[in-house]
């Protein structure tokens, strides 16, 4: 019996839950106050948006919405590290990274508000729309990276998935092809510890989600997903590697879903007592604030001012969303193909008539 291969999984954390550094070897970012403030603001922005979206849903002005409460460091961390010309392939709980990469908040609201125009991103033209069918998006990310490789471009692709989603075959097929083709794609797992009501103990026998990359010969690492400095630093390095043609990385980010799965869910049905209390002690925003405060870089006034600004910013997006009139009925048909077949053209005319009658 000989040993033919060996693997280990590393865990990265720079700032602990009390905002204290856990190592002396901090990345540059840990000292870049402006950058940290921007990240802090971004995480708060997502939280304000999510809260607002919840309220809209509760008052009948929005459809089902998946908040990212407690998981803001992940999306903001890896989303903000992307260059504009990189491509983001998000999952449904991806608003944090999407907004960082240029998707407008009102676009996010439009999408969940039941309007396809929410995916016609005005800034992030190459980014993929949200993928609801779980794990499918990872293959698209691999394909985008393959296109970049074929054209010899120094860009990269980031994509995200929940820890539950890693049980899908598409997850594995994507990391496997990324491995063998040496694609410039970085896979982020938001391990928020729940897949709706299903905890990790029911999802997989793995000790870590990072180790799933071993099945694809892909480099991997586990990160404290509540530590945005760690997430962002790991993302930057993985992107550099990807852009340099040195292949994919899989990053497991450990967080906790502090909210319901979506507005349609009630986590009290299945969440063990005490979990939330513990979770709130770990959450990423307070942690960064404590760290900033420890550097004397953040005050109560800063906080107040920022919260007011963010409220206004989000409100503007909400207003834009609410003021967007429902699309024309024929929009159901107008983007099906470049050119609509005759048969469907007749249906389009009919739909317009029906709508006109209803309107009348």
């Amino acid at each position: 019996m000989t040993t033919v291969a060996k693997f280990d999984i590393k865990y990265i954390q720079y700032i602990d839950k009390d905002g204290k550094p856990t190592t002396k070897k901090l990345p540059k970012l840990a000292k870049d106050i402006d950058a940290l403030k921007t990240l802090y603001r971004s995480m708060n922005r997502v939280r304000v948006l999510d809260t607002k979206a919840y309220a809209l849903q509760r008052t009948g002005k929005m459809g089902t919405y998946p908040a990212a409460l407690g998981q803001e460091a992940i999306g903001v961390g890896f989303g903000s590290a992307l260059n504009k010309e990189d491509v983001l392939v998000p999952y449904y709980r991806g608003q944090a990274s999407m907004i960082e990469h240029g998707v407008k908040m009102e676009e996010v609201l439009l999408y969940w508000g039941g309007d396809e125009r929410g995916s016609d991103y005005q800034n992030a033209r190459e980014d993929f729309p949200i993928a609801v069918p779980i794990a499918t998006q990872l293959l698209h990310a691999a394909g985008v990276a393959k296109a970049m490789q074929i054209r010899n471009e120094q860009r990269c692709v980031a994509t995200e998935i929940g820890e539950g989603g890693t049980s899908e075959g598409d997850f594995y097929e994507a990391i496997n092809v990324a491995g063998i083709w040496n694609l410039g794609v970085v896979f982020f797992i938001n391990n928020n510890q729940w897949a709706i009501s299903v905890p990790s103990e029911i999802q997989t026998a793995c000790e870590t989600y990072a180790q799933k990359a071993i099945a694809a010969g892909v480099e991997c690492v586990q990160v404290d997903g509540n530590d945005i400095i760690a997430v962002r630093d790991v993302a930057e390095k993985a992107y550099e590697k990807a852009r340099a043609g040195k292949g994919p990385t899989l990053v497991e980010c450990i967080s906790l879903r502090l909210c319901d799965h979506t507005t349609a869910d009630d986590a009290r049905r299945y969440r063990p007592d005490g979990e939330l209390d513990e979770g709130w002690k770990e959450e990423p925003i307070l942690r960064l604030r404590k760290y900033l405060e420890s550097l004397k870089a953040w005050t109560e006034e800063d906080e107040k001012a920022m919260q007011e600004e963010l409220a206004a910013e989000v409100q503007e997006a909400v207003d834009n969303y609410l003021n967007t009139p429902v699309d024309r009925p024929e929009a159901m048909f107008d983007y099906l193909y470049e050119e609509l077949p005759t048969r469907t053209l007749e249906q389009r005319e009919y739909a317009i008539q029906v709508a006109a009658k209803k309107g009348a």
């Binding site: 459809g63 709706i196 299945y270 009925p329 929009a331 159901m332 099906l336 469907t344 029906v354």
Partner: protein
């Protein structure tokens, strides 16, 4: 006897059969502690334990494939696919194995299993949560595809599906999960699979529908009755194998037919029914077959979904046209 909803009827049927048959088990994403995202399996895990009501990992091909393996051993799995829009990763297992195990082993291995999935639009759900793709499964020999339209039928047909020795795809019209209640006795009596139900007898025109659309169809029939148009309303219920005889008999009587469905029109179950009428009852027809249908386009997100879904008005218009045709 309290009145119950369609989803409660599904639950009651599963609970009934799990109570009398040890081999019946339920599995799927969130079916355990959470009782299913629509609560179809509510309370079942408490009642029957974690060994018989199983929360699975998030993988639909796995759910289907593992159910096949269990069923081959005589277990009778009721597997839930959380929404029909997520059944597609399981299609390979469904088409290549589920539908054909009895056939390819010449009866040696049979698969007494049920694959449940909520489907259809109209509840303001997110993308991929509102489609009606029953036609795909209805085209596959070896499957049975059942769609209950009301609580009583949901109870009786679910019992029949579980007891059926062959795989049944059981599609639940989620828009009507809770809109009507029936008094349903938990008596363990099943309804026949493979038969249409006649919801309403009539003489002027046959309205043919299934699932949620039956509600609009019945409302339309009621309104038309007031106008003096006598509609026969047929609930197809088992969309495969199709009980075409009941439909043909009715059309022979009325001479006119209108098919009402939510799915896109091209290559749909409505096409199949129309084709059968055209083949076997064409010269009974006094008017072209009317069709009220979803459009041949992607199911829109919810702001436009009302524009997509057939309405009572659209049904009325089509029936009037068909009845007036001469």
């Amino acid at each position: 006897m309290p009145a119950i909803t369609l989803i409660e009827a599904v639950n009651m049927a599963m609970a009934h059969e799990m109570g009398v048959d040890q081999d019946v088990i339920a599995l799927g994403e969130d079916v355990g502690t959470n009782g299913g995202v629509f609560r179809a399996t509510d309370g079942l895990q408490k009642k029957f334990g974690k060994d018989r009501v199983i929360d699975t990992p998030l993988a639909e091909s796995m759910i289907a494939g593992v159910s096949i393996g269990m069923a081959a051993q005589g277990i009778k799995p009721i597997a839930e696919i959380q929404f029909m829009g997520f059944i597609f990763p399981a299609v390979d297992q469904i088409i290549c194995h589920m539908a054909r195990m009895r056939h390819r082993t010449r009866g040696r291995i049979t698969l007494p299993l049920v694959l449940r999935a909520p489907f259809g639009g109209g509840i303001h759900a997110p993308e991929h949560h509102s489609e009606s793709t029953e036609a795909i499964f209805a085209h596959i020999p070896g499957l049975k595809v059942v769609i209950p339209s009301n609580p009583s039928r949901a109870y009786g047909l679910m019992l029949a599906a579980i007891r059926d020795p062959d795989p049944v795809i059981f599609l639940e019209p989620k828009r009507v999960y809770r809109i009507v209640k029936h008094e349903v006795e938990d008596n363990g009596e099943d309804y026949p699979i493979g038969c249409c139900f006649v919801d309403r007898e009539g003489t002027d025109v046959t309205l043919i529908s299934w699932g949620a659309m039956l509600h609009e169809t019945n409302i339309a029939a009621e309104k038309l009755a007031a106008e003096g148009v006598s509609c026969e309303v047929i609930d197809v219920a088992t969309v495969s194998p199709l009980d075409i005889d009941t439909i043909l008999e009715s059309v022979a009587k009325t001479g006119r037919a209108v098919i009402v469905q939510e799915a896109p029109k091209a290559g749909s179950l409505g096409s199949e029914i129309a084709a059968e009428i055209a083949e076997k009852g064409i010269f009974n027809l006094l008017a072209p077959i009317g069709r009220v249908s979803g459009y041949d386009t992607i199911m829109p997100y919810y702001r436009l979904e009302k524009q997509y879904m057939p309405t009572v008005d659209r049904i009325l218009e089509e029936v009037r046209k068909t009845v007036e045709y001469s």
